[in-house]
Amino acid sequence: MKISFKRFFPQRHVSAGTLRNSFDRRSIVVGSIQGGVGVLLAARLGYLSIAQNAKYELQAESNRVNLSLIPPRRGWIMDRNGTPLASNRADFRVDLIPERVQDPAHTIQTLGKLLSLSPIAMQDLEDKLERARRFAPVEVASGLDWDTFAAVSVRLPDLPGVVTQRGFSRFYPLGPSVGHLIGYVGPASAEEYEKDRDPVLITPGYKVGKDALEKFYEKDLRGKPGARRVEVTASGRIVRDLDTREDVPGKTLKLTIDAGIQEYASRRIGPESAAVVVMDCQTGDILAMCSMPSFDPNSFSDGIGRLEWKMLSDDDHVPLRNKVLRGLYPPGSTVKPMVALSFMEAGLDPNESVFCGGGLRVGNRVFHCWNRRGHGSVNMAKGIYQSCDVYFYHFAQRIGMDPIAAMAGRLGLGKDFPLPVSGQSYGTVPNPAWKLKKYGKEWQTFDTVNATIGQGYFLVNPLQQAVQVSRIASGRIIMPRLVHGHEHEVAPSLGIPSDHLAYIHQAMSDVANGPGSARHAALPFPDIKLAGKTGTAQVVGLNIGSGKGGLWKHRDHGHFICFAPFDNPRYACAVVCEHGGGSPSAYPIARDVLTYIFDKQKGMDVLTELEKKWGGTPKERLDARYRTYSAQYGVGAPAVSAEEENRKLQGADTPQDPSQPIVRDAASPAPEPDPADQPPAAAATPSPSPTPTAPAPGNTGGNTP
């Protein structure tokens, strides 16, 4: 190199010899550089494969091995006898992970062909794909047979983003009968994933509880995901299984529900929009809690399609609302046993009578009895079994509203209960303080009068009515319970003297078994007697409709509360038949449900006959309706935005505070149809009280598009 520097000087002598010399020196330089590069490469090689070996080994391993979560089997939900209400079915499924799909249109087309999806299903799939978060798997199909599953599986390398899986899907054997009770499952939404960063939530095929018990007990039912380690190629093709860790299924949830009663009651409701609650009035166990019409939770688990959505939201019977907990209704005459108890506690002699001539003048207004012809002389028992309004108008003025409201509270009206449900509408038990606070108006006598017949501001839900009748039947503070297995403690006494209760029980028994208002409600057993109370709650004033016919949403609500056996109360039942046209729509349901409880065969015989008329079980009718819709609309149903769907689902659930217009007048009760061919009284005298009563919360929700 020393000589090389001389090259800086110009006009050197260049000859063959100097060039040869220069070549020799420079070839050594070139050789050294080559050697140097060789050493550098060797050092680099050593650095990579020795010093950083651990790091790269890990990276190679994480390339090679793909850990996929196996969604855990969801815990079963069982009834009190161990019959599954929600179980898991092994199935083959296909999911789509949006962020891995390269050509969505092509992928959907191919899948549509492979799985022979209907145009409606394709449309729903496109909707779901559009709406899904990039990482959240979208269910394409489940419950596939092996051939279809295999047909998709072999094409996986050409369909990036498609995941096929053997897994388990939720199955509800009772279908629509348990829709509102159990809820349903569905893929986790973005909000749910944000709240709970459990990676199992975005595992294809994993469903979270979306409503009711499935949602409430989500953490218990979830279980622990299993894991499968597989060797995968760079393009994601699985080469082989390495090892598998089994999932830990979720905990089993045992309910107090009796599957047989639950299903029977749901089916017995038939085409009505109704709620039925059956309780064990000794323990508070809820044996059945039905709200019909309902949805099929089995078909909700892959998301709610456009057509399905249209079908459910078109239905004015509001299948999406759980009427047991969220439906609020004026209780009508079903409050009379409760009011009578408060009278007795206030010191009223039950034998004290009043003359009913079909109405009672209070101040300058006339309050009519439902029986415009009058009941003659009425004591407390007759006031209950004949449901005489004048009796209650008369004595309520003497006793006052406060003792009545207090008794209503003791019996559970206006309360909510510690149940594993996502919300209860607890309604209103009006009293003077409440009215002053809410409307800033003084309590009026007519308010008391309205309240004693369960009209005016009075609003209850069917569960409260069941609790009320359980407490009346047992004389104890019965608390409703849904989850089985807690130690039974004998519920504390209500503190109502037993002779008061016995008097009321007898009067309620006479409703069905004596000279009462619902003689067809008697059970078809000579030795088991049912005690009950009818109720008919007006929805609109008599000037708009009689409450018996005309527009469905103008018809009266029918109520029936009862317990049986009358002499040793065991089962309590409350039925609300929305716009059923009065109590005759309600008590046959209660009667048949109790008949079923005591004699399954007898109950089923009745139901089989009825279902022939109605066109099958609720499931069959729902399916038929779906077929009609798909024939009628096809893919033409409008898309439902996520917000709207959410709003409606929640809206149907949100405890409503129904706009209770201020009541300025007497609510004349609608005539209670009597088995003994009572002529419709609405035709007899036009009501002087045209103000509509508080509309039931449900009767508008179903009609808004």
């Binding site: 090389s4 520097f5 090259r7 800086f8 110009p10 050197r12 260049v14 000859s15 063959a16 100097t18 060039l19 040869r20 220069s22 070549f23 020799d24 420079r26 070839s27 070139v30 050789g31 080559q34 050697g35 590069v37 060789g38 550098l40 490469l41 060797a42 680099r44 090689l45 050593g46 990579l48 494969s49 020795i50 950083q52 070996n53 790091k55 790269y56 080994e57 990276q59 190679a60 391993e61 390339n63 090679r64 060797e231 995968v232 190629t233 760079a234 393009s235 080469v239």
Partner: protein, 371 residues
């Protein structure tokens, strides 16, 4: 008839101390390709060995040519390849897209590859004929620059940066060894340092620029261009000292490693054979290249020594750039590893270089003879 009497003699006189390590390297290459094909001789390993044997015969034939034949052929060969380069460019322009090869019917020919040994040949010839006194003047520089520049430009616009660099490198080394003033190289180096950034932003294609940027920070683009470098480093690094064992390389077998049988064959090898295999490869190349340089230094005349040194520099360039690339020391340029990567053209070029070295080696042993 003549050849039959020559064969034993020819075999005996081959440089076996270089050829045997080279054959073992090719065998290792074949083993790696066998594994990369998932344990099959087809499609890589068998054709790899076949090509080597065919081209070895070709190299032996080349080594039989006389010095004067080489001298005579230098300019015509160079000219013919430049014409082919132009032809490729023209066909590419007509066909509407970039093209690097000519389809001769029985094989595809990549003229740019042939230019690598040809540039060395033509420069050796040029400096031999250049009067010694002119070596340090512009007349020693400009014609050589033109000889390098024409093919380099054509290859560059193909675009094939790697091959263009290889041609320039081969030419530059030959010029350096020819005795051009050192100050010119230092000046050129300094100029390159200034021009390179400008060229980087103006001359290079987007994908080339991107490759360089990604090379500087592979993790910036783990799924794109950086993916190659990252996966290659994972393959080499995870091999450890002894490797994962023959046929057990997960990176290559599960297709994480791109181009596992061509440009990144070293990574495929290092994953299964470990650092030990890597050192063996380096060792064989050291033998071959140092043999090449020794041949050059022993060469009696200017032409043969420049030719031999240039040829070994060309092989070296392949090896160095490829290994630096797979180990993350250089950007991704499409340069295969001599004697290991699967690919006919690269094998052809390198065996031409080896054949030329063997020819010079033969001339050395019979100084002055013109057989």
């Amino acid at each position: 008839m003549i050849s039959r009497s020559i064969v034993p003699d020819a075999i005996a006189r081959q440089p076996w101390h270089m050829l045997i390590p080279l054959m073992s390297l090719v065998s290792l290459g074949a083993a790696v390709l066998y594994s990369a094909a998932g344990g099959n001789l087809q499609p890589y390993a068998l054709s790899h060995v076949m090509r080597f044997l065919i081209f070895l015969c070709m190299a032996i034939v080349i080594s039989r040519f006389s010095r004067d034949f080489f001298r005579m052929a230098a300019y015509p060969v160079y000219g013919a390849i430049v014409v082919l380069l132009v032809l490729v460019e023209a066909i590419g322009a007509v066909g509407g897209g970039s093209q690097r090869w000519l389809n001769l019917g029985f094989m595809t020919l990549q003229p740019s590859e042939l230019m690598k040994p040809a540039i060395v040949l033509v420069l050796a010839r040029f400096y031999e004929t250049l009067p010694h006194a002119m070596t340090a003047s512009w007349r020693g520089l400009v014609p050589a620059g033109v000889l390098i520049g024409i093919p380099a430009l054509f290859v560059m616009i193909q675009p094939d940066l790697g091959t263009a660099l290889a041609i320039c490198f081969g030419g530059a080394v030959t010029m350096f060894l020819a005795g051009l003033p050192l100050s010119w190289f230092i000046g050129a180096g300094a100029t390159a340092a200034v021009v390179a950034p400008i060229a980087f932003f103006t001359l290079l294609h987007d994908y080339q620029r991107n490759r360089v940027l990604v090379f500087l920070d592979p993790e910036s683009d783990p799924l794109g261009t950086g993916y190659h470098i990252t996966q290659s480093k994972i393959a080499i690094g995870s091999g450890g000292f002894l490797g994962k064992g023959f046929g057990n390389g997960s990176q290559s077998h599960l297709q994480y490693l791109p181009e596992s049988h061509t440009d990144f064959v070293f990574a495929t090898m290092a994953e299964e054979w470990g650092m030990l295999g890597g050192l063996f490869v380096l060792f064989v190349f050291a033998i071959v290249l140092s043999w090449g340089l020794r041949v050059a230094r022993r060469a009696p005349d200017r032409f043969s020594s420049l030719l031999a040194a240039g040829m070994s520099a060309t092989i070296f360039f392949y090896v160095a750039i490829n290994l630096m690339m797979v180990m993350g020391l250089a950007p991704v340029v499409g340069i295969p590893l001599p004697f290991m990567s699967h690919g006919g053209t690269s094998m052809l070029t390198n065996m031409i270089c080896v054949g030329t070295l063997m020819a010079v080696n033969r001339w050395n042993r019979r100084p002055g003879s013109i057989s």
